[in-house]
């Protein structure tokens, strides 16, 4: 009897050890990555239509710099940049959609702030657009600077954004009383401002430039030169899956670094024979970078070939569409901008 018991305990111990090993091996692989590969598409939350960032055309194709981040991740983990399911979200819905697991990446011109990063179960992985809040007014109003704002001004904006908070800080610091008119959807903000309900429309400057193209007479409106806040916009993931977080972060970083080294979607294949080891690493001809995420070695090459580098994405979506032809701070650090990413090695 005692003998059997001893055998049984050793058997249980063996199983337990085996189990411990397998779970540790599984933990290395991201749960989100596994689910994504099982489903065959990346679940990506985007805006309800912001030209240049995430906007769907008449046939339902999404384009924009935010969209390209999700496409880059799809190219890296699934091998095809088109395997993305886009979910349009309002500013109000976006974080809940991410934390509840409805989407796996939120790439929706979202400002990186301390409270969002630390407080609500989210992790920001980087910055794909440096922005700042500004004001739009009618040209005919004669206003050319925010210093001409007077008590009683009404400002249209979106709810659920940092805009609402910045606006209060700005008007309070200037001692100006104002009337905030906050809508749930951007289209209604534009309609209300356009109709004369508000004297000014305030949101991120890139957003102002993009929404201006939607107005009845874009030429009748100007964006004031002042920038009242820092708005680093970037993709967000859920807290708790650090491998997935790394995949999204480095998919974005690869796009920016590829531009730095002059690798484009056109010349990526020929770069494999480059002398520069940094370039060779980026196109998968040297090193084992993908292994750290549980991906193959061509993950970054696929991103560059299918989506292009950051400069290509910017030109295609924001510059060529006439939204913001000047890259401003969103230029590489080597060319006077502030785009600077850690090296992929």
């Amino acid at each position: 009897m005692f003998k059997y018991l001893k055998q049984l305990t050793s058997f249980i111990a063996m199983v337990a050890v085996l189990f411990a090993f397998t779970t540790e091996a599984m933990a290395k692989k991201s749960k989100t990555l596994k689910n994504t590969q099982k489903k065959g598409f990346v679940r990506c939350g985007v805006s309800q239509g912001l030209p240049g960032f995430s906007n769907a055309d008449a046939s339902g194709n999404w384009t924009g710099v935010d969209v390209d981040v999700c496409r880059a991740v799809a190219a890296a983990v699934l091998g095809d940049a088109n395997k993305v399911k886009f979910t349009p979200l309002s500013a109000k819905e976006r974080f809940t959609a991410l934390t509840s697991g409805e989407i796996d990446i939120l790439s929706r011109n979202t400002t990186w702030t301390l409270s969002r990063d630390a407080d609500i179960g989210l992790t920001f992985v980087g910055v794909n657009f440096y922005d700042g809040q500004g004001f739009m007014v009618r040209k005919s109003s004669g206003i050319t600077s925010t210093s001409q704002f007077k008590n009683g001004i009404s400002a249209c904006t979106n709810i659920g954004t940092t805009t609402e908070l910045n606006m209060r800080d700005f008007f309070n610091s200037k001692g100006i009383s104002y009337e905030p008119v906050a809508f749930e959807k951007a289209d209604e903000v534009v309609a209300a401002y356009d109709s004369g309900r508000c004297d000014t429309y305030t949101t991120d400057k890139s957003g102002l430039a993009a929404q201006r193209t939607k107005m009845q007479n874009p030429d009748e409106h100007i964006v004031l030169p002042e920038t009242i806040s820092k708005e680093p916009l970037g993709p967000v993931v859920r807290q708790g899956d650090s491998v997935w977080e790394d995949i999204v972060r480095w998919s974005l970083n690869v796009m920016i670094e590829a531009e730095e080294y002059g690798i484009t979607s056109g010349n990526a294949d020929s770069m494999k024979t480059s002398e520069n080891p940094a370039i060779k690493r980026l196109v998968g001809a040297e090193g084992e970078l993908g292994a750290a995420f549980g991906l193959d070695n061509d993950w970054s090459l696929r991103i560059i070939k299918q989506v292009g580098n950051y400069g290509e994405s910017y030109k295609r979506n924001i510059a060529d569409t006439g939204i913001l032809p000047d890259r401003g701070p969103n230029q590489l650090w080597t060319k006077g901008g502030i785009l600077y990413v850690p090296p992929a090695r």
């Binding site: 509840s100 609402e164 209604e188 708790g240």
Partner: protein, 351 residues
């Protein structure tokens, strides 16, 4: 929830909200707490529900009676109104009033004064603000009027039961209501002055009215849409209630010499009300819950302020949505309780 990295707790309610709200009935700005922001949203919801219920009841009763009018034109007009407004989705109607109807209003500098002091503009409806002196004296006088009216009504009822005499209670009440407050103006030191809205220039082409009382266009559009929509259903309840009383009642009342007004007031309405109240309660509840569509046109109600902005700034989805749900449940149950009490009061008292 741990798995998703979500925390749970209601401590955030005491934090500084740091966002402003366009329109609030109590003093509020971003330095107040989230709990205060909740209260602002709640009061705005109650305001629009209250206004909506009053206006929709008035329109509903008038249209309901008009549908039974022997005048063909009135009857058809009422029927058209009911069929038109109740068959268009409410959200569309809200958008219509806000984006189509109010957009046609003039800019502040182009608006013309109504009666010299009211201005209806795209930025809202501006009217004089009342500034009272010794308002409390007037307040006490009105309480005194209400008490004396109740006493007189009871006396008149007794007088009729005992001696068959009728007192002109209505005329006496109106007279009291005018005379007593008027006396407070003359002798009680009560005075009223007005603060008029003044046009103020913001820039070359934009103006706004300052001072006075400003009602935002969002509130006007929402109240209008809710009232016109709900009134159609109430009108049908009223029509059903009146038609539910058998014709014999009316004929019998007429045969004992009651005037048509008395027939309606003493015989038809008391019985019809019993049929009208329960379905109308439903409509009041619907109106209150529909007011949450305010978010679409920037009226800062509970859903926009609390379940919108506050939820976004704190990320406390579960806490805030649960509080909001519980609040709507409480409002609805209170309305329902009140209406049930009223229904019981007017029900047939069997002996």
């Amino acid at each position: 929830m741990d798995n998703r990295g979500i925390e749970f707790g209601y401590g955030f309610l005491n934090q500084e909200s740091s966002f402003d709200v366009q329109f609030s009935l109590i003093e509020y700005d971003g330095s107040h707490s989230y709990a205060r922001a909740y209260l602002v949203g709640l009061l705005n919801t109650l305001l629009v529900a209250f206004l909506g219920i009053i206006i929709s009841t008035i329109i509903g009763v008038v249209v309901g009676i008009a549908r039974l009018s022997p005048n063909y034109l009135i009857e058809r007009a009422a029927a058209f109104y009911v069929e038109f407004f109740r068959n268009i989705p409410l959200l569309l109607q809200i958008f219509f009033w806000y984006f189509a109807a109010l957009r046609a209003l003039p800019l502040p500098q182009d608006s013309e004064a109504m009666f010299g002091v009211f201005y209806l503009t795209i930025k809202g409806f501006f009217m004089p603000r009342f500034i009272w002196d010794n308002l409390d004296v007037l307040f006490y006088s009105i309480i005194a009027v209400i008490i004396s009216i109740i006493v007189i009504r009871n006396y008149a009822k007794k007088l009729q039961e005992n001696q068959g005499k009728q007192l002109p209670v209505f005329s006496i009440s109106i007279a009291l209501l005018i005379v007593l407050p008027l006396l407070t103006f003359l002798f009680g030191g009560v005075s009223l002055s007005f603060e008029l809205p003044v046009l103020k220039q913001l820039s070359t082409t934009s103006y706004v009215y300052k001072g006075g009382l400003g009602i935002p266009p969002e509130l006007i559009a929402l109240t209008l849409a809710l009232a016109l929509y709900t009134a159609t259903f109430i009108a049908e309840c009223v029509r059903a209630g009146i038609q539910g009383i058998s014709k014999g009642q009316k004929e019998a009342a007429a045969s004992i010499g009651l005037t048509p007004n008395q027939v309606l007031k003493l015989v038809i309405m008391p019985q019809a009300l019993r049929i009208i109240i329960p379905p109308t309660t439903n409509q009041y509840l619907n109106l209150t819950k529909n007011s949450s569509l305010a978010a679409a046109i920037a009226y800062p109600d509970l859903v926009l302020v609390f379940a919108g902005t506050a939820l976004m700034q704190t990320g406390r989805a579960i806490e805030i949505v649960s509080i909001t749900m519980f609040t709507y449940l409480s409002i609805s149950l209170s309305i329902s309780l009140l209406m049930n009490w009223y229904n019981k009061k007017i029900a047939i008292k069997e002996k």
